[in-house]
């Protein structure tokens, strides 16, 4: 229970920090920001990996769900970072 209050504290602080950070991003970078934060939300990959690697005791359905979660999270992560990088590289090229 104590842990949950601490986690709540982390959650609240991160929200504040997020707001402060994001409001500083200039409009020029809003599209890469969207895809970049999107890639970050692929952090669920960490959870998905744990679910998919749960071992033989788990039912087939758990494995299937874990597998799907890993696939989707990986698409999110790899696709998100690569496409953001592609966009940002264009911004850099000329300047």
């Amino acid at each position: 229970m104590e842990m949950i209050v601490m986690q709540l504290a982390l959650f609240v602080l991160s929200l504040f920090l997020g707001v402060e950070l994001i409001t500083k991003v200039p409009p020029t970078l809003h599209t890469p920001l969207m895809s970049g934060t999107n890639a970050i939300s692929g952090i669920t990959l960490v959870g998905a990996v744990i679910a998919a690697g749960a071992g033989d005791s788990a039912s087939g359905l758990v494995h299937a769900l874990g597998f799907i979660a890993v696939v989707m999270a990986t698409v999110n992560v790899i696709g998100g970072y690569l496409v953001t990088n592609r966009m940002l590289a264009m911004f850099k090229r000329k300047n």
Partner: protein, 466 residues
């Protein structure tokens, strides 16, 4: 491995995410920032793989391979003009992953010891169910948004009169099931019911929203996918999920708000698909009749010939026509002739925030030529020619002048103050807001009808010859 060490490493990776987003606040540091955030992800995943709780690796490896290939191909093949779709798709994957992981964790816990009884058990289950709810809505909502943007289904509002009530009913049903599950987690029928209701809800919420409002929806769903990740973090007691999920949640919310402010609409207004009520119906014919003048590319080239300052105003049509490279060449030719050229960027031009910036950056237009609305507006009076390429609503003077207009109050680019206005579009048909644009009927406006790319290329060719 020692769980404290793992937690420390997670903290480390959260710091990388924070530094990554910090990097995104400046074009110069943005690439490095994205890299740092990717490193943070790598660290988090590697330490998780090394953690003792993972027993079998085959599903993980298979999943990462499949996902990596799909994601990699999508990211390298996608056209810059299709970025909104891409983000919708990625977003759906994020939501789906949260859903999958929550469901797997639920089944795993049921399969082993089940949930604790008492407060702790209720809290644990409720986080799982919240993740399921948000994850499902994000998944299906993003897929519908994708389909609309990719024009797999009509971009128009799809639905029927009572759809709001259906949505309300679905939402209440989902909440009730969620509540019941908290006290009876073993009832897996309820669980599948919750997933089904939430998935349908995602679809029926997004279907009635018009295609052009999709970016707002996507930003909002982006925020949801972050919140879902944070909720999953509460399930697993994982700090990095909580921290980075809430960062993403905040990001999506702020982008949503920025868009709404720039369109002068409220979020509820966007979500329920209503435009502000106009007090009068506006008759396009009355505005345009006999007053619209059109011109050929050659004539425009002649006018540009003598101009000293030109402002280019790109809009959604430039993206549709993929005209960004052509525009850049026009800009080069004008600059060769000693003309001062700037681009006026409206915050919601196109179909997502920063859309025009990305396209023009792709065409290698330097970003100090891209001027924000507030800074460029005072300069239109000293501008000889304003070239409007596929922009419409963001230049509509009704937003400034006509109190009865549905877009009244939306900040616009004051293109009409320029000496001469050249508007390139295919017809007189309206833009996203569905309104006629008195700009087209102004004395100093010349319409060039045609596909954006072709018209620009023609103008460039004539100017180059001159």
């Amino acid at each position: 491995m020692n769980t404290n060490l793992v937690d420390l490493v997670y903290l480390f990776s959260a710091v990388f995410f924070i530094l990554g987003i910090k990097g995104l606040t400046k074009p110069k540091t943005a690439v490095r920032g994205n890299m740092m955030s990717a490193i943070g992800m790598l660290i988090a995943v590697v330490i998780t793989l090394l953690d003792k709780s993972i027993v079998s690796y085959e599903y993980i490896i298979a999943g990462v391979l499949v996902g990596g290939i799909v994601g990699g191909i999508m990211a390298t093949k996608i056209q810059m003009t299709s970025m909104p779709q891409m983000i919708a798709m990625l977003n759906g994957c994020g939501g789906g992953a949260s859903l999958g992981l929550a469901a797997a964790s639920y089944l795993l816990t049921l399969g082993s010891d089940g949930y604790e009884s008492g407060v702790m058990g209720v809290i644990a289950v409720s986080f799982v169910m919240i993740t399921v709810l948000i994850g499902s809505v994000t998944l299906t909502g993003s897929l519908v948004a994708f389909a609309k943007l990719q024009e797999l289904i009509s971009g128009q509002s799809i639905g029927f009169a009572g759809i709001k009530f259906l949505n309300a009913a679905l939402f209440i049903a989902a909440i009730v099931m969620l509540g019941m599950l908290c006290f009876d987690p073993t009832n897996s029928t309820l669980f599948w019911g919750l997933i089904a209701a939430s998935c349908i809800l995602g679809i029926t919420i997004v279907l009635p929203i018009g295609g052009a409002d999709m970016p707002v929806v996507i930003a909002l769903l982006n925020s949801y996918s972050g919140i879902a990740a944070a909720a999953a973090g509460f399930i697993m007691g994982n700090t990095v999920l909580i921290v980075s999920g809430s960062l993403v949640g905040a990001s999506g919310l702020i982008l949503t708000q920025i868009m709404c402010v720039a369109m002068n609409r409220s979020l509820t207004n966007v979500l329920f698909g209503v435009m502000a009520e106009g007090s009068e119906t506006i008759d396009a014919d009355e505005i345009y009749a006999g007053k619209v003048k059109s011109a050929q590319p050659e004539e425009i080239a002649m006018i540009l010939e003598t101009a000293r300052r030109v402002v280019i105003v790109p809009g959604f049509g430039m993206a549709m026509a993929q005209a960004q490279h052509a525009v850049r060449e026009l800009c080069d030719v004008m600059e060769d002739k000693g003309i001062e050229v700037e681009f006026a960027i409206h915050p919601v031009a196109g179909r997502m925030p920063g859309h025009m910036n990305v396209l023009l950056a792709e065409a290698e237009v330097s970003y100090d030529k891209l001027v924000e609305m507030d800074r460029i507006n005072p300069t239109f009076e000293q501008t000889d020619v304003a070239i409007v390429i596929g922009a419409n609503d963001v230049t509509n003077p009704m937003a400034r002048e006509d109190k009865g207009s549905p877009i009244y109050g939306m900040p616009i680019l004051n293109v009409d103050k320029a000496q001469t206005v050249v508007v390139i579009k295919r017809s007189l048909s309206p833009g996203f807001a569905g309104l006629p644009n008195p700009l087209f009927a102004q004395d100093n406006t010349l319409m060039v009808y045609g596909d954006g790319k072709k018209a620009v290329i023609d103008i460039t060719a004539s100017l180059d010859l001159a």
